[in-house]
């Protein structure tokens, strides 16, 4: 049971955070709601249009396309990154300078500004000057991410795997390190196979970190913007236009305030629902573990 004292004076300590996040979250969100029901014609010229924008956005084929692409992309991200992350974490050395070196190298892509990640892959995958681009083409496989929709999509996916699998690795590695050595010795005495050790010792111990890894990877891939913006600009065509990309196009590109706001709200509601499910799941399992 939770032994922390109940004291509403703690609100005083939370107040600064509340105020600063209110300014940067609540006021903008209210503004979005206000925009979403109006047609902004120009300065000081607005017309109340009710739910028209919501209707338009919800029935917009481009939005459906972007949403579908986003779901497939986020699904692929999870399907590749989670198993790959677990596999690499299992093979990483656990002690000495090798382990430190591995940790630092693995973490490197996470510290690169997102637009630079795009630049790196631009340089790396270009069919004329890029190492990967030239290599793939010289193998006889035609590859050009600027003209082929499939290549562009694949490049963005591989880039994301390169960029974010390290996050999964680091989390799984931390989870594995928390398993006491005695567990392994007991398994050895019982003559457990490597698979049994993984299935009954390592995987259960990683459940918590894996939940967080899935949460973060899903959410962050759901708002991916900068890397495809730099690499492909959303193209060719709409092949790599994901939700944030689409939103930025209407909002900043076309300056369609109303539809952009309506879309923002729908986007935000989806995020809110997903975050809440994950949060409830995490706190729920925490409590069961504490029991």
């Amino acid at each position: 049971m939770d032994k922390r004292p109940y004291d509403n004076k703690a609100w005083l300590l939370v107040l600064p955070v509340f105020l600063i996040v209110a300014i940067s979250a609540i006021i903008p969100l209210m503004t979005v709601v206000n925009y979403s029901v109006q047609d902004v014609l120009g300065p000081f010229q607005r017309v109340f249009v009710g739910t028209e924008w919501f209707e338009q956005v919800l029935n917009d084929d481009r939005l459906h396309g972007a949403f579908l692409r986003q779901l497939i992309f986020s699904g692929c991200v999870l399907l590749i990154q989670i198993p790959l992350g677990i596999a690499v974490a299992l093979t990483m050395p656990v002690k000495g300078w090798q382990s430190s070196l591995c940790l630092v190298l693995v973490a490197l892509p996470l510290l690169i500004p997102w637009n630079v990640v795009g630049t790196i892959w631009q340089l790396y995958a270009r069919p004329d000057i890029g190492l990967a681009g030239v290599a793939v083409n010289s193998l006889g496989i035609p590859y050009n991410y600027t003209s082929s929709a499939f290549d562009a999509w694949l490049t963005v996916l591989i880039m994301d795997v390169w960029h974010w699998t390290p996050l999964v690795i680091l989390l799984c590695y931390a989870g594995l390190r928390s398993i006491p050595e005695a567990f392994y010795q007991a398994a050895k005495i019982d003559g457990a196979s490597a698979w049994a050790v993984f299935r009954y010792i390592q995987l259960p111990k990683m459940r918590r970190v894996l939940t967080i890894a899935i949460l973060l990877r899903f959410m962050d891939s759901f708002m991916i913007y900068t890397e495809p913006f730099v690499l492909t600009g959303g193209g060719p065509g709409n092949a790599t236009t994901f939700l944030s990309q689409f939103l930025a196009q209407i909002a900043v590109g076309q300056f369609d305030l109303g539809p952009a706001a309506a879309f923002s709200l729908i986007y935000f509601l989806v995020i809110l629902l997903l975050s809440w499910i994950f949060y409830t799941y995490i706190t729920h399992t925490d409590r069961e573990d504490a029991r």
Binding site: P16, A87, S275
Partner: protein, 280 residues
């Protein structure tokens, strides 16, 4: 984490060598793009465009010299560092007391508040793009460092609160109680006893605030035009305007990786904790 001892994580050492081949393949996949970026940055542009070579034939630091001497490039770095430092400072100073409250007390709406903070970390910055622009225009803050610093508080303050709460919950509550019995006031206890206890956590949190503000582009680019233009925006705008100077672009990219790469060694054992919002 430094206490781990014993053999490999998985005691089945029979497949030791085969597994390490897999690890090496992964590291090659990981490091080749970075190698390519560095290789590009030390080549003259003519060489990049004239032909393909795995290793640079002539090594030149002209690209780096350009960045360090041309104000339109190096001010980008200075602007980024300014708003990032400002943001880290704001995030930490408001998050420290709040994280203490969350880790030590229950209060009205605490869980909902904690969840609400998380949603701000998860919300796509694109959603807040227009209202931010309008908000800061109203206050005449567009194209200032403080505007970007405040905008990045949207995800960095929740991040800092969550990470710090994770660290603070690891400190036994008896320490607080003993201090209060000994007659310490809350501010004195917090500043002289508690903060030194979690200084590793503060360092890690500062690192993560720094990093997430450093890597963000969308808000930073939209809220600035000239005076506070971040290096990330300088890079994307140069690409579209002045044609493709790949060598220069690569050199600028390398320089953006340097700050993170310098600090990462010191936080290597806490990286997972930081990324997992303190929940590992």
């Amino acid at each position: 984490m430094s206490t781990a001892k014993g053999p490999a994580l998985n005691p089945s050492t029979g497949r030791f060598r085969k597994r390490h081949i897999g690890l090496i393949v992964y590291f090659v996949f990981l490091l080749l793009p970075i190698y390519w970026l560095i290789a590009m940055s030390v080549r003259p542009n003519q060489e990049i465009l004239s032909g393909f070579d795995l290793f640079p034939r002539t090594i030149t630091f002209a690209n780096y010299v350009t960045i360090f001497t041309d104000p339109s490039w190096y001010t980008g770095y200075l602007n980024s560092i300014q708003y990032v430092a400002l943001n880290t400072l704001i995030s930490l100073s408001v998050a420290l007391p709040a994280a203490y409250a969350f880790s030590r007390y229950r209060f009205l709406g605490d869980k909902h508040m904690f969840f609400w903070l998380l949603t701000n970390r998860m919300a796509p910055p694109a959603v807040f793009l227009l209202p931010f622009f309008q908000l800061y225009s109203t206050f005449g803050l567009i194209d200032t460092h403080i505007a970007v610093a405040l905008a990045h508080c949207l995800f960095n303050v929740p991040l800092a609160v969550w990470i710090l709460e994770g660290f603070m919950s690891g400190v036994p509550r008896e320490i607080d109680e003993t201090a209060y019995i000994d007659g310490y006031s809350f501010p004195r206890f917090f500043l002289t006893i508690f903060l030194p206890l979690i200084r590793a956590g503060i360092g890690v949190t500062a690192f993560f605030c720094f990093m997430f503000s450093w890597v963000e582009l969308l808000l930073a680019r939209t809220l600035t035009s000239v005076d506070a233009k971040p290096i990330a925006a300088t890079m994307t705008r140069t690409v579209s305007a002045a044609g493709m100077d790949w060598g220069l672009l690569a050199a600028a990219g390398v320089l953006t990786i340097v700050p993170g790469a310098l600090v990462i060694w010191f936080v290597r054992n806490y990286i997972a904790k930081g990324f997992a919002l303190g929940r590992v």
